[in-house]
Symmetry: C2
Subunit: 187 residues, 2 copies
């Protein structure tokens, strides 16, 4: 492969995505458990990608040769639990003092608010890697910090989350029993 | 770009995907109308793609240089309407006599059945291009034909659909008022 002035650095990408893998993996495994045990039907949405060019090297195989990542319109996860529409975004931080809101898009918060208006259950899951702690964050906590100033990137102090948000217990199966929190705190 | 033994035939792909565009476009436009008028929050899920290689030609731009289409785990559309979880797949046919079930995956039907079990509303939208007619197909109609023999690819006769399924009126805005059918027939 001759790409004289470009570098294929997929190894770097792999290590980058592995950093975020544990949270996504834990949620996906929990969702498999919920599905297999008929508790809830919740899936991660695919990452939106804009396909530009494709090849057909053989009859049944399409190879995408040029594409770009698009900004997601909504959140990462949605589904149903006991007739309730469930919708959430999951994020993690290495910080031990606060959770930065910088990687949450305004349109994602707007989307979660709309879900709540229409009778669904919308929230965020935050993972503090330094403490190995997971929290279910109700929308009202996000609103308190987000509404202060939309243009300034805010963060939510760890101590505030520890006091006000709902911890999600990490276990063997399900790995992250966030449905338990929904059942006990949100319904 | 030197690809001596491969052909870039994205033009063919474009015309191929345009054939399916009208139905997807009509549903997406309807969903925009529902969202803008605060009637329902329903989105098309992104097409799942397995990314293999990427390049970083500049700091903020990732170019995907090798990727493959994956089989979707679930259906194309989901969301919420008046607290109800909504989930559906949309398909079209050029046939004037029947609707082939060949391009609906068994796991999609299994998924829609699970949605119904958990209290959600699952269905299909069929578009007969020869008649320019759209129908909302309740799961029970699919089951009647699907359960006969899972290994044989079945089709549902047009006359049966015309008699038993619910027509969706095509209009200016929303283009396809399938929420009206849900409201009048499924809730």
């Amino acid at each position: 492969m001759n790409y004289p002035n470009k570098k294929i650095i997929s190894k770097v990408l792999c290590s980058k995505s592995n950093r975020g893998m544990s949270l996504e993996y834990a949620i996906n495994e929990s969702n498999k458990y919920y599905l297999a045990n008929n508790i809830a039907v919740i899936y991660k949405k695919p990452v939106p990608i804009q396909v530009v060019d494709v090849l057909y090297p053989s009859r049944n195989k399409t190879v995408i040769t040029k594409a770009y990542y698009k900004t997601p319109s909504t959140t990462d996860y949605n589904g149903i639990y006991k007739g309730n529409y469930i919708d959430f975004e999951a994020k993690e931080t290495s910080s031990s003092t606060s959770f930065p809101l910088s990687n949450i898009h305004l349109h994602q918060i707007t989307h979660l608010k709309k879900i709540a208006e229409h009778g669904g259950i919308g929230f965020l899951i935050f993972f503090f890697k330094s403490y190995n702690e997971y929290y279910l964050i109700p929308l009202k906590i996000i609103n308190e910090f987000w509404n202060n100033n939309q243009n300034t990137r805010k963060s939510i102090p760890y101590v505030y989350i520890k006091e006000k948000a709902f911890p999600i217990k990490e276990g063997y199966n399900p790995r992250l029993d966030y449905i338990k929190v929904i059942r006990e705190k949100l319904i």
